[in-house]
Symmetry: C2
Subunit: 343 residues, 2 copies
């Protein structure tokens, strides 16, 4: 792709990327006897959450999913507190056989209590992939799981008899859901060719260096792990430290000690590099800092890199495309397609 006449990088809106999945989702939906039903749970008066709920409704209408918004707490009545009744609403939706997927509009109470609520959503209906099980599988590069493991609290070990280098799950297994936002970023990487289709599936980010700014459990850490599991060298940068995530190679099986064969996945090392040094090396920069003031310095970017903003606020300076060959300002539209795909 060429830069614009002004010599600037391409501004890539998420719509184009989302469009490629719309057809796939429609085709899967056509195979269903009845459209699956997604329940959204809105428990606060937050305008962005309300906006996102409306957006979910529109996307479901367009694609043909059934959507029902259930309001509780301050979203239902000014007499109720923010978040009041949300746990019971989740439990009711878990137990309601007519509901196939549940989406809760966070933030509600703050990171700790919200993380508690994410565990209340049944893993069988968790279209966002926020349940601990899915994070565990992601960190351990366990891509396919036996369906029964979804209702067990025993954590799966990587099973060497289940190959992980195919796109489709081997017989008797299903794909482990990947948290929607990190998955949306990976889908953007595939779309723009950072993931190289000539490389074997599962290693398509090999050779690429990526900086992920922010290490939250919701976006930054799973995204860094996911990219490293796919072969990238990743710098995970947080306010107080820099870590390097790289992929541990599969060691050839020793016939005498087959347990010596490692399950391939990322490993984490501390790094002494500064953010400036990380950016100077990085083919891709993803920023997810929930702070309006935070900006990645354009001057520090590598010429021709790809920049992706995942935060609600813009984390890149207005001149980012003076250095970046491509800039994706938001991934929300891809995220929601991932969610409906999971549904």
């Amino acid at each position: 792709m060429a830069a614009s006449a002004a010599g600037k990088g391409i501004l890539l809106k998420a719509d184009a990327i989302a469009a490629t999945f719309r057809e796939e989702v429609k085709q899967s939906l056509a195979k269903c006897v009845r459209p699956p039903k997604l329940v959204g749970i809105l428990a606060t008066s937050s305008a962005p959450s309300k906006f996102y709920a409306d957006f979910t409704q529109k996307q479901c209408d367009t694609l043909g999913f059934e959507f029902e918004l259930r309001k509780t707490g301050a979203a239902a009545s000014s007499d109720l507190a923010e978040g009041e009744g949300v746990e019971q609403a989740i439990i009711d939706a878990n137990e309601d056989d007519s509901v196939h997927g549940i989406m809760v509009y966070f933030p509600i109470f703050g990171p700790q209590q919200d993380s508690y609520l994410q565990q209340v959503v049944s893993p069988l209906k968790d279209v966002e992939g926020l349940h601990f099980k899915f994070h565990y599988n992601l960190y351990h590069n366990i891509r396919f799981i036996e369906p029964k493991s979804l209702i067990s609290s025993v954590l799966p070990s990587p099973d060497p008899s289940i190959p992980i280098d195919g796109e489709e799950p081997p017989s008797g297994t299903v794909k482990s859901i990947i948290p929607c936002t990190p998955l949306a970023v990976v889908k953007c990487m595939e779309y723009i060719g950072v993931y190289n289709r000539l490389l074997p599936y599962g290693d398509r980010a090999y050779g690429k260096t990526v900086t992920v700014i922010n290490r939250s459990e919701v976006v930054g850490r799973p995204l860094a792990a996911l990219l490293a599991n796919d072969g990238a060298r990743v710098f995970s940068v947080d306010i107080d430290s820099v870590q390097e995530y790289t992929k541990r190679p599969r060691v050839a099986a020793d016939a005498a000690e087959p347990s010596r064969r490692y399950h391939p996945r990322h490993v984490v090392h501390p790094s002494n590099l500064t953010l400036e040094e990380c950016l100077a090396h990085s083919d891709v920069v993803v920023s997810a800092v929930p702070n309006t003031q935070y900006k990645v310095k354009t001057a520090w970017l590598k010429d021709g890199c790809v920049c992706v903003n995942v935060a609600a606020d813009k984390n890149f300076e207005v001149d980012v495309r003076d250095k970046a060959s491509m800039y994706i300002p938001a991934v929300g539209k891809v995220t929601i397609l991932m969610l409906l795909r999971n549904l």
Copy 2:
């Protein structure tokens, strides 16, 4: 109990309270064929964590438990980063049949990633009660569970056929583990008579008003819920809000609609009271604010109240006993006994 000659309230060290459980734990232990084995996992260079690990060792030695400290990360070598290898150490201990209980010395990475690690510890070996399942049961006042629910990720509903008003679990069920620190505070309340033994079990805090300062998922919120489940009126005070936790009464079963019978447990309401107003009403004040600077104003306390400091730093002013009839400066020694009792 009488105030001291100086007219001050009693300073109650946790040792006396811990001593009452030491005998109980020793007796249970005497029934074991082999002493159960607790594994401590120390992954940081933090001095308080090291101190607490030594303290666990001493307590286990005194009581006759087997204790093994497994060091990883910065605790094992200066070449390793803080927390490096801790997840694998937990998984190894989960899979090691010779290990009966696991204790991880937090904090390691910060609240979010630490909360992830707490879910990695098998609920079958989680002596601290930090797994999500135990928090869920506590919040829902589910006191006894079927053992198989420990290995299922399906959350239990309150089962009306399981009575919850006895101290011992009905046949076929086991006690759901209660997070150690909140449980230690309850045991202190029992010891000093805030819990009234003449009241029916499960409602022994009825009539008492308690303020719990801090609403973290580790201590403040479960403690407030636990006290309210036992009948207390609880003010849960956090930096940005005050909530009131009260117990929802069990509604008499309607023969036609037995499902109308509510499972008794706390409900949460927003409150317009200030901290000063809460303290003026409170028979008991528990503070768990992780901040050296934070102090509860003695002037705001109700005359003759009971004050309990759960934070590492002292959250009460030096003259607290000018108003408080009793002051418990730390509960750590009771907490560790609760943990060994769970083991």
